[in-house]
Structures are given as structure tokens and as C-alpha cells.
Assembly symmetry: C2
Homo-oligomer: 416 residues x 2
Amino acid sequence: MVVIVGGGFGGLAAARALKRSPVQVILIDRSNHHLFQPLLYQVATSVLAPGQIASPIRSILRNSQNTTVILGNVTGVDAKARNVVVENEDRTGVAVSYDYLILATGVQHSYFGHPEFEKYAPGLKSLADAVTIRNRILRAFEVAEAEEDPSRHQELLTFVLVGAGPTGVEMASAIAVMVRSTLKKEFRRIDPTSARIVLVDLGTRPLGTFSPDLSRAAQQRLSDLGVDVRLGEGVELIDEQGVTVGGERILGKTVIWTAGVAPSPAAKWLGTETDRAGRVRVKSDLTVANHPEVFVVGDTASVDQDGKPLPGVAQVAMQQGRYAGNLIRRRVVGKPLSGPFRYFDKGNLAVVGKGFAVLEAGKFRVSGFAAWLVWVAVHLQFLAQSSLRVSVFVQWTWTYVTGQRGSRLIVKHHCD
Amino acid sequence: MVVIVGGGFGGLAAARALKRSPVQVILIDRSNHHLFQPLLYQVATSVLAPGQIASPIRSILRNSQNTTVILGNVTGVDAKARNVVVENEDRTGVAVSYDYLILATGVQHSYFGHPEFEKYAPGLKSLADAVTIRNRILRAFEVAEAEEDPSRHQELLTFVLVGAGPTGVEMASAIAVMVRSTLKKEFRRIDPTSARIVLVDLGTRPLGTFSPDLSRAAQQRLSDLGVDVRLGEGVELIDEQGVTVGGERILGKTVIWTAGVAPSPAAKWLGTETDRAGRVRVKSDLTVANHPEVFVVGDTASVDQDGKPLPGVAQVAMQQGRYAGNLIRRRVVGKPLSGPFRYFDKGNLAVVGKGFAVLEAGKFRVSGFAAWLVWVAVHLQFLAQSSLRVSVFVQWTWTYVTGQRGSRLIVKHHCD
């Protein structure tokens, strides 16, 4: 019995690699859907609907007859007894036994020791987060339109994004595009294009993981879109009225956190060695010390290659998941073991507004419309189901041509 | 200044009728979107995404230069001072003055004196309701799949729908179709087709507003789909374990309320005469007694025609909204007044499962596939925006051919 915890890029790749193996597989996730996280910012900015970037995990794996998908929350691992503890709303503390375990449990937000920021500055990791942020962004314009006193409009229409990594850059530019295209003609008392969009980062350049010339291109593009990029300054305070950055107070009702992540509690469950960020240190075959039957893959695993830690991106998770699945299959059927895991970097992409992206692959770097076309093609290709590819492609074409968005809803959800 | 409260079928029709009038219009709604309620059950059963049946009201009215759309909750009307009181999260109790007022505030659920049922049996009126019901239906199958004890599966897979009007019939048949097409091959421990679907009503036939032969056709079709239709019995109790109907206990974790509605508090705001259901009694020109400047339209208005009260359906609301808008326009430009409001009934439709509907128009009645094609055409036609028409048509075709649904997500939303 192989138990996979997590149905993200890593867990799903592992399950797929085990499809034709003579083993039973149980995949456990606390969501019923695999989420295509790289497009989550497009749900938060109303372009795509939640259902366009998420597919039911059991639907993706419906032809894997050896695989059972379970909705449940894993709360612990007993590596000695070889079982994981699963809860759902019907039952608590059910032990599920394994012969092999793959932990692909990802990351969550981190507010760097300031959990009190979360209430005012939601992060973006799940569909529920994206819908919360979508509600807040759209509601800001609605509240401003309802306000008859123009002196309050600027504060209501100030958006602060904390963190200038890919998500912060993509979201800031998407909001800038939205006010110019979608919202422009629909308000009577406010001018949506007067919205102030501030992107804050402690580092000295946006997209810090890209090469400096691409950061410069992105920064120029952000300026062209009217985004106020503030670098080298940390956020000291976030409250109901706004943000304090480098001693200066920015009044703004809508703050979004895209700055930091912390690994899942996998290391705590295993009681194993971690890196400084808290990710599980794994061996070159992605197993945990003294537990050749326990694999950790994706964002919650820490492994170095050529002296540098691998980044927490979808590509790494997918390749690691596939490697772990294949390794288990080989062990089960008694074939010789393969070599250590090695990441092959196909390149990195980030989009900055409409028709503009930066692309870096090895020594090859390009920014602009051509990079954006590559971005479109790559993201369509990696969507989990062909029906989503068609639906997202049609929506993007429609939005590109008309400026209209697909899912511009404010919904005050019941919480249950 | 014309103030319209409500952006449903009635309010939107009124705003459209006033588009080219020499008056300023303010439309106030507590949602940012116009919702196509007749398709709400398709969101609850995962076929369509919320964004496919809802459009931002300000987007629909963006070319009506005389119209300002405000997101806010109307909490009262001062008919003497001629203003309405509006709240939003930023401000409370703002008075908005009017020369003419159109109240199109619709209905809400009613549990007939049993508010304690709501917790266990959610109703279906808003997108948030539909997402809650979708979560519960999908979660029932997930909890059953996670349950290793087969003796508990039947209870977990029992769905009880209270109320056999169009919504109850459409939802029950949609769940029956879903277990047979979409879910069939995706579970390993349970057989989704073993789900028990019970449709309960106090009346003696389903679709009681249709003619008896169409009710019989619908009932036959429901039986063919495996739905257990229980008529002439009232619901005595709903709790966490299930439902008590006509003295019998039905154990079932998932209960959905489609039985009753109550009008909005418009009558209370106006302090005016109501019918027995609490709807505002209006004159033949849809105005309120002693207030020729106040109109009430749609589900919250009570008006008789040929000795019978008009039903609470979208068609009536649309025709009334248009009438009120036109009447105000005529008064403003000083043209002679038109005659009293008269409803033209274009016919009624209800769908029962895949490729089957009942259709009644005057003395013409038909059930089956042809009626279903009419249902498809009519519902596509009345969607508010052409982009939604395309998107819903494509989704329906896809679902019809493959059995796959468009938005089968369980999302535990944040409530804020």
C-alpha cells in the first residue's frame, strides 16, 4: 500500500507514475480538487472562475483503477508503526497504514512572526483565499462608488501588495490592467483608473529569483502600468487603516500578502532534520534518513543541487513526485534502482500585465510579447484536463479582445 | 431621481426601460451581480460555475449613462420624506432621496415557522446558498468513500429534498443524473448509483402549478431516474441525523429545502396592506395606495389578474419592471399614461433530468425531449450577457456528451 498525502503537483505526479504498478495507492488531500496554483492570481483578479483552474482529483485519476482518493485532513504520521492519521468531518483520528509514504504537503502562508497581519492582509494559496481577495478588491471599488465624499475615494482605492515575487508582480499588474480595461466605463462617481497600486518588497528588485535585467524589464513595465514599486523597505505594521512601510504610513483599505510561505508540518510529523525554513532535509533519492520507505517531495522538501537549494516551484514538485512514484514502482517489481533525483530546469516565467512576460531558461532571457505567448502556451499545457485548456483559452481570448472578465462576483459565502 | 431597489429580473427590467429617459436612476442591490435564478440548481449540482449564471449589474448597465449602480443593503423606506436608507460595510444609515421608487426586492426562504430547520436543510436563493449545497452534496460522497464500514454508506448517501416544486424536481433529477453519469466510475469503495434520493411534498403531485397530466409525466420520469417521490406528507422534524416525514424517520445526512419562500420586508418598510403571504398589495398600475410615486414589482408584489394572483416567476417580474419603468418615463416626459398592468403568460417550463422537460403554454402541453430543447433555448436566451450564453451552451453540450460537470468543487470558504 502506497499512501500519498497531497494532491498538488507533486502528489498527482506520483500517483500518475504509479498508475500501472502492482500496488494499491491511496491519495489523501484536504481538498477535493487539484489546484493549478500558478493561475490563482487570475481568480483573485476576476479573470478566471475557480472551476477553470481546479479539477476534482478523483476525476483526474478516475482511470487509475489501483488508486483510491480520500478527502481528509492528515494530522500526523507514525513512521514507526507506518501509518498516517486522517480526520474528516465525520470521523477523527483514523489510522491509514502504508508500506510506502509520499508526503507532498506543500506550503502555507507565513507572516514572519506577525500572525496579526493576516486579518487585514489575506494571502493567496487556496481557492477560498482567491475568492476572499477577489471580494476585497471588487468591494473596494463598490464602497468608493457608494461614497459621496470624494476626499475619501483615494484611501478606498489604494491597494497595497506586500511581496514582489511572481505572485505580487502578477497580481499588481493584473489590478492595473483591470482598472483600465474592465472597470473604466462602469462607474459614475469614481474614476477607477485613479486607483493607487503599491507594490512593496524588502529586496532591492522585483522578481528577485530572475536575473537582474529581467527584474529591470519587469520594474519598467510595472511603472508603465502605473504601479508604485517600493523596494528595500520592510512592512512594519498592517492594520485596518493601511500599512506602515519604512516609517511611512500608506492609507489603504485593501492589502494583500504575497510575501512569504512556510512549509507544511511534515517535518514535525516525522521528527526529522529540517533546513532553516523548516523544510524536510531529504536524501538524494528524496527519502528521509532511516526511513527508505518515506519520501518527501515538492515545496515541503529541502534538497540541494549543485550546491544550491532547489526552488519551491511546480516543476520541481512534478519532477520529484514522478521520481518518487517511479522509484517505488521499481522497488515493488524488483527492478534495479535508478540514480539520485536530478532536477531539470525548463526555465521560469512571470507575466507582467497584458501581453508582457519575462522568460528565463538557462542563459536565455527574453521579455515582452513573445515571452507572454510562451507563458500562455506553457500554462495551457499544464492545466490538468483538456476541458479546462479549452475553457481557459477561450476566456483569455475573450478577455484580451473585450477587456471583460469571466467571474467578477462579490459573494459573501456562508462558512460551513 | 428614480431609485430602484433590487437588481433581479424586475429591477433590471425597470432600469433598462428607463435607459433613455431624462431622469437620473440609482439602482441599489446588496449583491454586485444580477443572478439568473432559474439555473441556480445547476450551480448547486456542479454543472455550471457561479460566474456562468451571474453578471455584474454595473456591467449589464454600463451603457446606461443616466444610471448609477450602488452596492448596499436597503434597511428601510421613509415614504413621507421620500428616501430609502442604505447601509454598506463602510457606512450605516445613509438616506438616498427619490422622486420615484421601484421596490423589486424579491423573496427569501421560509421554513414555515421552523427556523431551526435552516441549519440542517439549506435553501437555494443566492450563489452563496448554491455553493453551500454543492459543498454538502459533493462532501456526502467523499465522506462515504472515506468510511470503511459499508453499513454506514446508505445513510451517508441519502439525500432528502423538501418541496416538489420546479426547484425540488430539477435538483432531485440532477442529483440522480450526476450519480449515474459523472460520479459512476470515480469511486472505489462506494457505488454512487446506490444513493437514495427522496423528494418530499405535502401536496398530492409534483410540480403542483402545472396541469395534472404534466405532473404525472414528471412523476413517472422521476421514478425512472430512481427518485423516491413521497407525496401528501409533511415534514415534522429535521435534525442532524435526518428527516421525519409522516411519522417515518428517514436517516440522511444531506437535506435540502426547496419548499417555501416569504416576501422581502418591503410591506413592513411601507407600512402598507399585504396579502396573506405578506406581499405588498399594489394597484393595477403597480403603485402603492396613496403613493403614486412608489412601485412594487416582482415576487414581493401581490396583484390579481382575472381573479387569480399572479405567480412569483421571472416573467412576471420582468414584465412588471418594464411596465413601471415605462410608466415613470411617460410621466416624466408628460405623455398620456398607459393602461393598467397586464401579464402576458408565455408559458412555463421545468426540466426533469437529462433531455426531458415539461412545457405548458395556455392549453398547449408537452413533455419529453422537444420540451427540453425549448427549455434550453429559452434559458440561453434570457441569460443577461451574450458571453454567458456562449459559455453555458458550450458547457451544456460538453456535459451532455461526456457527463463531466464544469465546477465540481468543494471549497470551504472564508466568511468575511
